[in-house]
Each structure stands twice: as structure tokens, then as C-alpha cells.
């Protein structure tokens, strides 16, 4: 035993020495000096630049290039989208039959919990970071992010976060269900989340905490980048709309995610160290809801503001005219950012909170609809009188606007206390927020992927498959989530693995029919996403190569943004492997500006 302890102590000592040695080699955070090149804390070699990236997998594991990290975020987000999507399909198949078609109650609860957390924290936030990492430095004329290494660390915290969040699924079979997936729903309401003894809940909380740390590090980086790394010709006055939304989103993350982290630590302590933050004799169970939603509602805008920025950026490009009322769209973004911290208790109208407080939260919740409506107004006015080119990115932008109107209007009703008291915790709420998260946020992400597909692949996607993806997504989204709105009116409560109805409330046959319709819609969505992935992969490998830096003919309308100019320079300065002009080949990232412009 003593020998074992000695060996363990020795190993720990070696590990510590290794960590110290590693830390001494980390010098100026802003330099690109590769550790393998001998950079040390003295920073003597900080000016050394790598002429070429390492080959193969090492490139992706060691990269600090914002574009590579953007692609890594993108890959991560799409894998998480697939995992979350499979979970959604399982949920939908389960609910075809009132008694549940395929899953037990515990398995259903686990999948429901993981679906929400996966889609919001492992798909939503990272896929936005994918666009932001790749394009913010290009759009603002920066060489890279302000802190490239922090950028890489922020990304590499995410895979372990996902493993921890999903850990219960892997560990349940090998631990004979000693560790199961969390079954708390994504809101983790106390006392349920304190009383579930399952260690899988702790693992999930730690994973969530880690993803929050990653998001916060990323947010600090974006704020620093937009403030300090803008090119000389990029002022606050001509900063593009996507950068504005990322800046606002990063500020929201900075205020919201650390609070989630603190609340998670308190919950972990309640679970494991017998503290009473959320116990009746302590802070009370409702304290968790206040803390969670003080993070949770800004999180909604953390997820929706950048997609709004994507639509504000892309929609005018295919309308042949500049974004109508640019300034007001920026002001609306800032207004939503501020107001988003004053609406959290509208998630808690039915908890028995003070009615005077409730009324004030209702007023602010209704008020936040105004800047959202201003944005919608500006998108529609941009399209009106425009010459629309209905390419796939534009179709997804239009789909975004249509779905956002439905998601927004249903949300305005929920903001009203009397309506909320009737519809709270029903499928109406599920339908409402899915119109926003899938119908709007998801659609804007697809618009962004198709719009910039030529930039990050050098190839064009297949147009027919892109349109098939759009129409299947549009029909699937509306069928699934429209049926959920109807289910809500019927009084179907959310989160249940099975259902039975008193005929006086609603006939069971009607409820089952709408569940079936929602499931059919989900399958239509699934086919659309399979086509999307196929199109993405096949076109990346075999699609027609892009030959000039303006595949969307934006220059004609004077709307060629900086990222396309960068891409054009990249095409001009690229030479084939084994080419002749070695000097020119070194000019990749910053490239040589066109002298004749």
C-alpha cells in the first residue's frame, strides 16, 4: 500500500513538473509561435512564423488559425446537430402511441434532457461560433482573433463537455445502471435535480459548466477582436451587421454564462456537500428558477441575435439592395441585448410569484417584441421593391422571416399572463420555441452555410439538393411545430413519455392524430437533413470549383464584402502544389492586395 502511494505520488510529481514545463513555454498569448518551434516564456522567438501548417491530423489538433478553428466548430456543431436530431426522432416516434411506442419512461426522460442540452449548448452556440470564428476577422479586416490560443482552448473544452453531458449513455451499460444519463430536463429544476441521486447528473452539470467556460472564453475573444483588431478602414460606423450581433451576443454571454456557472456549482454543492442553496430551509427551490432563467432568457437571444445578423447580412445580397434601416437594425440588436436581462420571470408566471412583479415582467416581455418587430420590418422592406434571386441561401432567409413571424407572434401571446397561465407547460410552448430555434435559428445557419460554402470549400454545392433541403425543412418544420401548437391548445402537457386524456378535456384520438402529424413532419425534416449532409460532403469533394471571388455576382450591386475580397485574393495568390512562384505562395492569409484596385 505504502509502495503504491509512493508510486502514485511520484507520478503526480512528474505530471506537475510536466505541467510547469509546459506553462513556461507558453509565452505571449497573441503570438503564433508554435510550441514545437522552441518558443518559451522569454518570448525570444515570438517573431518566428510558421510558413506552412503541419500536415494531417496534427494540423487540426494544434491549429490556432481562426479559419481552421471555425471549421472545427462547424464540424462539432453538425455532429451535435445529428446527435440531437436522432434524439428528437426517438422522442417523436415514442409519442406516436399514447402508451409510448419504443422507450421506457426513464430512457425517454434521459433523451428528452439530452436533446435540449445538446441542441442549445452543443449545436446552437458552437455553430454560431463557427461562423464568427471564420468570418469576423475577415469581415473586420483583422489578421486573426485577438487571442488565437485562447480561441483554440475555448474550442477544445467543448469535446470533453459533450462527453460529460452524454456520459450517462456510455456509462450506464458498463456500470450496470449505477451511472445513468441525467433525467432533469434541460432546465434542471430543483428539487428534482437535487434529489436525483444518479451521478450522471453531476457529470452532465460539469459538462455544462465546461461548455459555459468555453463560451465565455470565446465571447471575451470576440469582444477584444472587434474592439482592437479592426482594420484601418473599418470604423464603428461601417462595421458590418454580423459583427454587431456577435459583439452584442458576446456581451450577453459575458453576463449570463458566469451566472449559470455559479448556479451549477451551487447545485453541485447541494447535491454533494449538503449545502441548502435550493432547499426549502435555505434559498428555496424557486431560487434556482430565478438564477437559471436570469441566464436562460438571455441565452435565447445569445442564440438568436447572430442568426438575425446572418439574415441581415445575406438577405440584402440576394435582394439587390442594401439592408433597409441599417442603423435601426443595430439599435434593435442593442435594445434586445439590454431588455433580454429584464424578462426572465415570464418563464415563472405560474409559480405563484408576486403578481406585481409578474405584471412588470409581462410589460418588459411585450416590449422586447418591438425591436424584434423592427428587424422583421426592415427585412421585409429590404425585400419589397427588391429584385430577389431565390438561390438556396435566400430561400432559407425568407423561411427564417416567415417562421420567425409565427414563432414571434405565438411568443407575444405567451408573454401575456392570462394566456400563459392557460398554455404554460403545454406543447404550445414547445411549438412556439421550436419555431424560433429550428424554424428561425436553424434556417439562418443553413443560409450561412450555403452562402459561404464557396469560401470554405472552394466549391459550389448542388443547387437542386439545396432547394430540396429547403423545401423539406420548411414543410417539415411547419407540420411538426404547427401540430405542437394545436396539441398545446388541446392541453397536452410537455415532457411526458406517455399520455392519456379525459374525454371532457380532449378526445385521445385527436391528440394522437396531432402527435402522428408532428412525427410525420419530423421524418420529412430528417430526410431534408440527410440530403443536406450528403450535399455538404459530396459537393465538398466533387462540386464544381469556384474560379472567381464573386460567385454570387455581388459586385454588380456594389455589395461585395471583405470576406469575398479576401477570398478573391486567396484564389489569385494560390498556386498548385509543386508550383513555381514560391514567393507568391507564401502570401496566403493576409495576401497581397490587388494593386490595380
Amino acid at each position: 500500500m505504502a509502495v503504491g502511494d509512493l508510486v502514485l505520488t511520484g507520478l503526480m510529481a512528474v505530471l506537475l513538473v510536466g505541467i510547469i514545463a509546459l506553462l513556461t513555454r507558453i509565452e505571449n498569448w497573441r503570438s503564433y509561435t508554435p510550441l514545437a518551434g522552441g518558443g518559451t516564456a522569454t518570448g525570444e522567438d515570438a517573431a518566428v512564423l510558421n510558413r506552412e501548417k503541419p500536415a494531417g491530423i496534427i494540423r487540426w489538433l494544434t491549429t490556432v488559425d481562426h479559419k481552421d478553428i471555425g471549421l472545427l466548430y462547424g464540424l462539432y456543431g453538425i455532429i451535435a446537430f445529428a446527435v440531437g436530431g436522432i434524439m428528437a426522432m426517438l422522442i417523436r416516434v415514442q409519442l406516436i402511441a399514447p402508451g409510448g411506442a419504443i422507450l421506457g419512461a426513464n430512457a425517454y426522460n434521459s433523451i428528452l434532457t439530452s436533446h435540449g442540452i445538446t441542441m442549445l449548448f452543443l449545436f446552437g452556440t458552437p455553430i454560431i461560433a463557427a461562423f464568427a470564428n471564420y468570418f469576423i476577422p475577415l469581415l473586420i479586416g483583422a489578421d486573426d482573433m485577438a487571442f488565437p490560443r485562447i480561441n483554440a482552448i475555448a474550442f477544445w473544452l467543448l469535446p470533453p463537455a459533450a462527453l460529460l453531458i452524454w456520459a450517462g449513455f456510455f456509462l450506464a451499460p458498463v456500470t450496470e445502471n449505477m451511472i445513468e444519463p441525467a433525467q432533469t430536463a434541460w432546465t434542471m429544476y430543483t428539487p428534482l435535480s437535487v434529489e436525483q441521486a444518479n451521478p450522471g447528473v453531476d457529470l452532465m452539470l460539469l459538462g455544462l459548466h465546461l461548455s459555459g467556460v468555453a463560451a465565455t472564453m470565446g465571447a471575451i475573444n470576440f469582444i477584444a477582436t472587434v474592439f482592437t483588431e479592426r482594420g484601418e478602414d473599418v470604423s464603428w460606423a461601417n462595421l458590418d451587421i454580423f459583427s454587431w450581433t456577435i459583439l452584442t451576443q458576446s456581451a450577453l454571454i459575458l453576463f449570463a454564462f458566469p451566472l449559470l456557472g455559479s448556479a451549477i456549482v451551487m447545485l453541485l454543492m447541494d447535491r454533494n456537500l449538503q449545502t441548502t442553496f435550493f432547499a426549502v430551509e435555505g434559498g428555496g427551490p424557486l431560487l434556482w428558477q430565478h438564477l437559471f432563467w436570469f441566464f436562460g432568457h438571455p441565452e435565447v437571444y445569445i442564440l438568436v441575435l447572430p442568426p438575425m445578423g446572418l439574415v441581415s447580412l445575406i438577405l440584402p445580397k440576394f435582394s439587390g439592395r442594401k439592408l433597409f434601416g441599417f442603423k435601426f437594425v443595430v439599435y434593435s440588436t442593442l435594445a434586445i441585448g439590454v431588455l433580454s436581462f429584464g424578462v426572465w420571470a415570464h418563464h415563472m408566471f405560474s409559480t405563484g410569484m408576486d403578481p406585481r412583479l409578474r405584471a412588470s415582467f409581462m410589460a418588459v416581455s411585450l416590449a422586447i417584441a418591438i425591436p424584434s418587430a423592427v428587424k422583421t420590418f426592415n427585412w421585409i422592406t429590404t425585400m419589397w421593391n427588391g429584385r430577389l434571386r431565390l438561390a438556396t441561401p435566400m430561400l432559407f432567409c425568407i423561411g427564417f422571416v416567415a417562421n420567425f413571424i409565427i414563432g414571434g407572434v405565438t411568443g407575444v401571446f405567451l408573454a401575456s399572463i392570462p394566456v400563459d397561465l392557460v398554455l404554460h407547460d403545454t406543447y404550445y410552448v414547445v411549438g412556439h420555441f421550436h419555431y424560433v430555434v429550428m424554424g428561425a435559428i436553424g434556417f439562418a445557419v443553413f443560409a450561412g452555410i450555403y452562402y459561404w460554402f464557396p469560401v470554405f470549400t472552394g466549391r459550389m454545392y448542388q443547387r437542386t439538393l439545396g432547394k430540396a433541403h429547403f423545401w423539406l425543412s420548411m414543410i417539415g418544420t411547419n407540420l411538426t411545430f404547427f401540430a405542437m401548437l394545436a396539441l398545446g391548445y388541446l392541453g397536452m402537457p410537455r415532457r411526458y413519455a406517455t399520455y392519456e386524456f379525459d374525454g371532457a378535456i380532449a378526445p385521445l384520438a385527436q391528440v394522437s392524430t396531432f402527435h402522428l402529424l408532428a412525427t410525420v413532419g419530423a421524418f420529412i425534416l430528417l430526410v431534408g437533413q440527410l440530403i443536406f449532409v450528403w450535399n455538404l460532403l459530396q459537393s465538398w469533394l466533387e462540386g464544381p470549383k469556384i474560379e472567381d471571388g464573386d460567385p454570387w455576382n455581388l459586385e454588380r450591386d456594389g455589395m461585395l464584402d471583405k470576406e469575398w475580397e479576401w477570398y478573391d485574393r486567396k484564389l489569385e495568390t494560390a498556386i498548385t502544389d509543386g508550383g513555381e512562384d514560391e514567393e507568391q505562395s507564401a502570401l496566403t492569409d493576409g495576401g497581397k492586395p490587388k494593386s490595380d484596385d
Partner: protein, 92 residues
């Protein structure tokens, strides 16, 4: 490499979206009218009582949403004309 895509007038697309959303409101009204939840008493703008039948509730949904969105669409048209006139006078 560029994608050849024809141009469509923006007005046409916006009106189509308007019609689709109003039609969806009608479908939802029809569905609700068919389900007939307890105490369903549609009153147009809180004034004109409509029958709680599928068509009555569909009419309620279409008129309510249609009028609401019409206000916004009217604003869009008004502002577009105003700014269009300004652009013609002052091409900057």
C-alpha cells in the same frame, strides 16, 4: 463559377408570405373549431361574435392575423414609397 438564378419581384414574394401566414392562421382556426375546446367563443376584435364552428374560428384567425399583418405590410409599402421618392430626388 456563379449560380444563374432568375430575379423575382420582392413585392410578389412578400405578398406570398403574407398569404401563407394568413392561410396558416385559417388552418389553425379550422383545427380549433373542429376540436371545440370548452368555452370557445370567438369574438372578432372583441366585438363581433362568430360561431364556434370550424369555419367561424378559421374566419376569426384569418381576419385577426390578416389585419394585424396588414398594418405592418401597409407600413412597409408606405415607407418604401417614401424612401423610393427620396432616392429618386436624391440619388445619393
Amino acid at each position: 463559377m456563379s449560380q444563374e438564378v432568375g430575379e423575382t419581384p420582392g413585392e410578389k414574394v412578400v405578398v406570398q408570405i403574407y398569404v401563407i401566414i394568413v392561410a396558416l392562421a385559417g388552418v389553425m382556426g379550422f383545427v380549433l373549431g373542429s376540436i371545440r375546446p370548452a368555452d370557445l367563443q370567438p369574438a372578432l376584435f372583441g366585438v363581433i361574435d362568430l360561431p364556434p364552428t370550424p369555419f367561424g374560428v378559421a374566419l376569426y384567425g384569418m381576419v385577426t392575423v390578416g389585419v394585424g399583418l396588414s398594418v405592418m405590410l401597409g407600413l412597409v409599402i408606405y415607407v418604401s414609397r417614401r424612401t423610393g421618392a427620396v432616392e429618386k430626388r436624391d440619388p445619393q
